[in-house]
Each structure stands twice: as C-alpha cells, then as structure tokens.
C-alpha cells in the first residue's frame, strides 16, 4: 500500500473545532455573545472552509493517483505506544472517507447557513445563538474525526463525540423538561449500543493481537484479516438456541458486537427508539444530525469494516435482516403519525434500514450511495419541514396545516422534489440508489432468504411513497386547516432559508448521476462504466459482485417504480380526491390503526420490561440498600467515625505541638528501619 502523506487533511476537522473552541470559550469566559456577524462568520465560515478544503483534497485524491493508491494519511502524533502496539492519532482520506467528508461538510455547511435564518429569532435561551453554532461546529468536528480516523480508536473518539453533540443539541432548549429527557434518552440508548461497539473493538484487537499483528488500523487489519478469519470461539451452553452453535468465528462475534453499536447510533431495531424523540431538538439539528450525518455513522462503520463482514456471513445476514425489518417496521409506523418531524424521523429509520440491508447483502457501495442521496433529500425534507414549522409558528401537527402551497410556493416545490426523490421517482437520485440496493438484494444468492428481503424492500418502497405523499398532501394541498388569524401570517421564508433548500433540491435531482448504474449508462449514453461512485469506492470496500442481465435489471426497476407509484396513487386518492374516506378507513381498521398509531407499543414495552424494573431495582436495592446503608453508613461514615474515635481517644495525645518530640519519633523510626534493613537488629 503506497502511502501519501498529506498534512492538509488535519485542517478539515480542526477548522470546525477551532470555530467551536473560539465561540465556546468566549461564551464560558466572557459570559456574553460575540457580535452576531462574527458568530455567523465563525460558525458558518469554519465548515465552509472545511468543505472547500475537502473538495480540493478529494479532487487531488481522485485525479492525482491511479486507482489503488488513493490513500492520503496525515499523522498527528502517536497517541498510545505500548510494546508492539501503536495507536496513532492520524487521519485517513480514502475514497470511502472522501464521500463521507463531502457529505458531512457540504450538507453541513448548507445546514449551518440555514440555521442562521432558523435560529435568528430564537430567544428561548440567553446566548442561544452562539451556543447553537458552537455545538454545530463541535458536531462537525466530531463527525469528521469519525470518518477520517484511520483506526478504530480515533473512530471511536468521533463516535462518542457525535453522541455527545447529539445529546447537547437534542436538549438544546433544555429549559423544557421534555427536551432534556429526550436528550437523555438518546444518550442512554446510544450508550447501550456503544457498549457493544467497545466490546467489538476489543475483540477485534484481541484477535489481531493473537495473530501477531497488534493493530487497529483499518488498512493494516484489512491486510492481515486472513490470519484471523479461521479463528473460532466456543459459545457457552445456554446459548444453544443460536444458529451455528456451538462454534462461531471470532469475526462473526466481533462483527455482531460492532453492529450493536451501529444499531444504537443508526437507530435500528431494537435501539431505534431514541431517534423519533430526538426531534425535540431544533429542526436544523434534526436535518444535520438525525438525518444526514450522525445516524449514518453505523452504515459508514459497517462499510469501513467491510473486510470483516465479508468474512462473517452470519453477521452480514443479521445486518441485512435487521435492516430490512427496521425498514418496513418504521415505514408502517410513519403511515399514521401526525407530527411532521416524527414522520420524517421514522422515514429516516426506515431508510437507514435500507442502507443496512444493502450493507448486509454485501453491496457496500450501494449502501454508501444511498447514504449520500439520502443525505441530500432527507436534509432537504427536514429543512423544508423546518420552513413549514417556522411559517406555521411552531405548529408541527400536519392535521392543522394544509394548503400551504399558496403561501409558500418555493418551499412547496423543493419539498415536492424531496418527496419524489425519496419515493424513488426516476430519474431523481433516490431512484438510482434504491434500485441499486434492491438489485443487490435480489442478486445476493448467498444470503438466506434474500427473496423475502427483496419483497420487504419492495413493499417498503411502496409504503414510503404512500406516507411521503400523505405528508405532502396533508401539508401543502387542499384548504388550510389552521386558525384564521394564523393563516394571515403565513409567509414565504427569507432567502437565507430558501437558498440551502434550492441547492439541496438540485442535489436531490442530479445527485444520483454519480452512481448511474452501468446498465443505464450503457443504454442511455453508451458509457460502459458509468457507476463512477461504485468504482471509486471499490478500493475501500470489499464489494460483492452481482451479475444481472440488463434486461432483468430494467424489469426489476420497472417493478419497483410501479409499486412506488401504486403507493403514491393510493395516497393521492385518499388524501387529495377522497379526503372524506380517511376517517372511515381509520374507523374500519380501528385496532390496527391504534396499534400502528401507538408505534406498536414499543416504548411502553421497553418501559415495562426494561426501564421500570431497572429503576425499581436501582432505587430499592442499589440506592437504598447498597449506597445508603452499606457504602454511606458503613463505608464512608463508618471509616470516618472510626478514625475520629481512635484519633480522639489516643492519637491526639501524640501531637504535643513540641517539634522535638516529633523529631524524636522520626529518629526512632529511622534508626529502627535502618537497623532492620542492614540486619544489625
């Protein structure tokens, strides 16, 4: 592997860090905000500069070197050095991280700009404006560390960093208890996942250590992964119900542990519950963190470790099935939601499920492709939703909207583009990426039940189109259901909010062309290998190759479009032409509707099965018995009381206040000690 040292890479994450430090430290020490223009310049300038740098470096990476050598490394310093093990604090720019940093800094910059407009009149909290940009910059930094880190430890630092920023931003308006609780929920659920992630890191490191290569650097691990592929672990007897009992490969176990972390971060079953609640944060946060970037960290991690997962079919199958189930599960929930942001949140969970589905069947580049296009159109949708919410004076219930097309035409058009893109309408970006995933699933013959998964994907596509169009029609078409006095005040948003929408809409339209499938390229433009993203990423990820004849590929795409169109038409029918049917349908399906509307009672189930017992045990046993009775009373107070008793009765007599008696005792002690040491006693 040829290494190209490039010391510019470090500035990509460091610039946002400096922005965060300057504004954060200023807030801490000066206790007041900087002048507004300065905050905006600092807060938006840092990610934009970072974006410019990223573009330049990625361009250099892509053009200056032939395939196989696209590998920039920037070594800051040696973080840990223990024996043969060295963990460097270094950044790695390869095709995989190149795609990620472009998405993170590019979409991030747009959302920063949008935030200027969105947060300008936010007076819920003193100094909130600068604090918001401080957190956003810090998040950008953490995310860039995550994707640029060249080993698992640096990745983990970023991993935890984005978790922290997510917590800070969800609870941004912390004066409201509910928001603070949502932040805590996100943090705790993420921690559960991170526990598995850490275990995975340790397992991987242990495996490589045993194989004689104590390393956690991705490319070194990739080089030596063959040495640990055969290593197995024996499961304990009580796990006898698991498939493949009693021996698993170590990589399967490690991959599963790591996937637990990905489940937490990327909101997959069963740890998805935090993401809908994370909508408590400001809308730009939802767009940036909970749609475009942070939640994709799990997908990125799986792609980054594709060399592990390609050798661990069990783990891959688990990922695929979890992803597929999450996709359809979340899509069904989204159908009945009324909160505009919650719908988008469940849609995000569902789309993330798609990505994992792709990663699970080995189409890692398809997963990355969908990650990218999803970042475009989901950020667009969220920002559009933010504009709607802003226009509606912080009303989020879509049943109280309607007819916004007349009031906010530009927002409406961009939102429609987003809806079309996510529904998979050709030739928008979502069409290509979703198709590539479905194609990958269809062709993955090694995967147990791949046809079932394929059907799940198709149904989900239909459901997606249905609930997105439902959202669209309820929000923008028909007559306004808002109170009269609110209706008179709905206005189109200013340019600073619309401009990011336009740019993202443009990206959502054309973004799919970088990954135009070869078959389309051949047929439309006679380009033999038009899927440039796939070939670009091929160096970083171990992609499964699937050969499907072009004719069948077109047929499959047609089927998917047909199903999506079906879902869309169903929504058009129900929410545009025959709106009177909706109450009747819901009444007819009352029990089912109730089940879905209450999100399958998952939160209640968790509360009953996990949270309440834990709280009960903690309170009754850990707190009242162990902590208060034993540690406090016996340990802390007991020790102190004992020492005080002894000192009061005996020791204080030794303290005469006469220096020379102390000298005498010291002398006596030294003489005895020395006598003992030289053996002359």
């Amino acid at each position: 592997m040829l290494e190209h040292v490039n010391e510019t890479i470090r500035w990509i994450p460091l610039l946002p860090l400096m922005g965060a430090l300057v504004s954060g430290l200023w807030l801490i020490f000066a206790r007041q905000e900087l002048p507004r223009p300065l905050v905006i310049g600092l807060g938006c300038g840092a990610p934009m500069l970072s974006f410019a740098l990223s573009v330049r470096e990625v361009f250099r990476l892509a053009t200056a070197f032939p395939a196989g050598e696209r590998f920039f490394i920037d070594n800051l310093y040696t973080w840990i050095s223990a024996g043969d093990f060295h963990a460097e604090l270094s950044f790695l720019l390869d095709p995989l991280s190149a795609v990620m940093i472009l998405v993170v800094t590019g979409v991030g910059s747009l959302i920063h700009i949008y935030s200027v407009g969105y947060m300008r009149e936010d007076h819920r909290d003193d100094r909130g404006f600068q604090r918001f940009f401080c957190y956003l910059n810090l998040f950008t930094f953490a995310m860039l560390v995550l994707v640029l880190g060249d080993n698992l430890l640096v990745l983990f630092v970023g991993w935890e960093g984005v978790g922290l920023c997510s917590y800070l931003l969800i609870g941004f308006w912390y004066l409201d208890d509910h928001n603070a609780m949502c932040g805590q929920k996100a943090f705790i659920v993420n921690r559960i996942g991170d526990f598995g992630f850490l275990l995975g890191i340790f397992l991987l490191f242990w495996a490589f250590f045993e194989a004689g290569h104590p390393t956690i650097e991705f490319y070194a691990m990739r080089e030596h992964v063959g040495l640990v592929a055969e290593r197995t672990v024996t499961l304990p007897a009580w796990l006898g119900f698991l498939p493949g009992f009693p021996t698993w490969t170590l990589l399967t176990l490690a991959g599963l542990c790591l996937f637990v972390g990905a489940c937490g971060k990327s909101a997959q079953l069963p740890l998805y519950v935090w993401l809908p609640d994370a909508m408590a944060g400001p809308t730009p946060v939802s767009a940036l963190i909970h749609a475009a970037t942070m939640v994709t960290a799990g997908v990125y991690m799986v792609c980054r470790l594709s060399f592990v997962y390609s050798l661990a079919p069990g783990a891959s199958a688990t990922i695929a099935w979890v992803g597929g189930l999450t996709a359809i599960f979340a899509a069904t929930i989204a159908i009945c939601q009324k909160d505009i942001k919650k719908i988008l949140a469940y849609s995000t969970v569902s789309q993330l499920g798609y990505m994992f589905l792709a990663a699970g069947v080995g189409s890692y580049s398809a997963a990355m492709f969908h990650l990218m296009t999803h970042a475009f159109f989901k950020a667009l949708l969220f920002l559009g939703a933010g504009a709607v919410i802003f226009g509606m004076q912080h009303e989020q219930n879509i049943e109280k909207m309607g007819g916004l097309r007349r009031y906010m035409p530009w927002t409406h058009w961009t939102f429609l583009i987003g809806v079309l893109a996510i529904s998979g309408a050709p030739p928008l970006s979502g069409f290509f990426s979703k198709d590539e995933i479905l194609l990958g699933v269809y062709a993955a013959h090694a995967m147990p039940g791949h046809m079932a998964l394929w059907w799940i994907g198709l149904v989900t596509a239909g459901l997606t189109a249905f609930y997105m169009f439902r959202l669209y029609f309820l929000t923008f078409s028909g007559a306004s259901r808002a109170p009269m006095q609110l209706q008179t005040r709905i206005r189109e948003q200013p340019v600073v909010i619309l401009m990011p929408l336009f740019l993202l809409a443009g990206l959502a339209i054309v973004g799919g062309l970088v990954g135009l499938p070869d078959a389309y390229g051949e047929a439309l433009f006679s380009l033999p290998s038009s899927n440039s993203l796939h070939y670009f990423l091929d160096e970083s990820v171990v992609s499964a190759t699937h050969v499907v004849p072009p004719a069948r590929e077109f047929a499959l795409a047609g089927l998917a479009v047909l199903i999506a169109a079906g879902g869309a038409f169903f929504a058009v029918f129900l929410y545009y032409y025959r709106t009177d049917l909706v109450p009747r349908v819901t009444a007819a399906l009352r029990p089912l509707y109730q089940l879905v509307w209450r999100k399958y009672y998952v939160d209640e189930l968790y509360s009953l099965a996990v949270v309440r017992p834990l709280v009960r045990i903690s309170d009754a046993f850990l707190y009242r018995t162990i902590d208060v009775r034993m540690i406090d009373r016996l340990g802390v107070d007991g020790t102190a009381g004992f020492v005080r008793g002894v000192a009061d009765r005996g020791l204080k007599l030794v303290q005469t206040g006469l220096m020379q008696s102390y000298v005498f005792v010291m002398l006596l002690g030294s003489v005895l000690l020395i006598a003992y040491l030289v053996g002359g006693l």
Partner: protein, 100 residues
Amino acid sequence: MIEAWEYQVVAGLLFMIGTLGVLVRRNVIVIVMCIELMLNAANLSLIAFSRQWGNHDGQIFVFMVIVVAAVEVAVGLAIILRLVSNRDTVNIEDTSLLKW
C-alpha cells in the same frame, strides 16, 4: 588513598551531629542551622557517590539541595522574624500552640 566509605563516615557523623542538634537545642535559629548541617551531610554523601560512580548526577542533586536550602533559610528566617515580633521568643518549646 582515601576511599568512599571514609567520606560516608564523615557524612554520617555530620548528619548525626545535625540530628542531635535538632533534637536537643531549643533555640529556633540554632535548630535551622542544625538542619543545614544535616543537608550538608547529605551533600557530602552525594558528592562522594558522584565521585565513586564517575558521573555528575550526585553533583546535580547537591546543586538542587543548595537551591532548596537557600529558599528554606530565606523563608525559615522570615518565619522566625515573625515569631519574634509576635511572641517575643526564639524558644521552640514556647511555640507549641499547633496541636489539638
């Protein structure tokens, strides 16, 4: 030929004399002087070891000890000045307030 142990004997005896002084004398100033004697005994020992091993580490230690001694004397004598101006005594046994 003088050998290491003879220097160490001198250092040891010097240290003992200093300790004795700290133990038996009651004048604070003299006690500080006796502490200086003990420090110097240690210095002699270190210098002898430095010579014995043929490297400069011992001498560096002595350098540091001298620095510490200078600071200690400056602050210590300032404390003694305060003691005299407050309690009008230099007798260590009159200053036994610092106890339970």
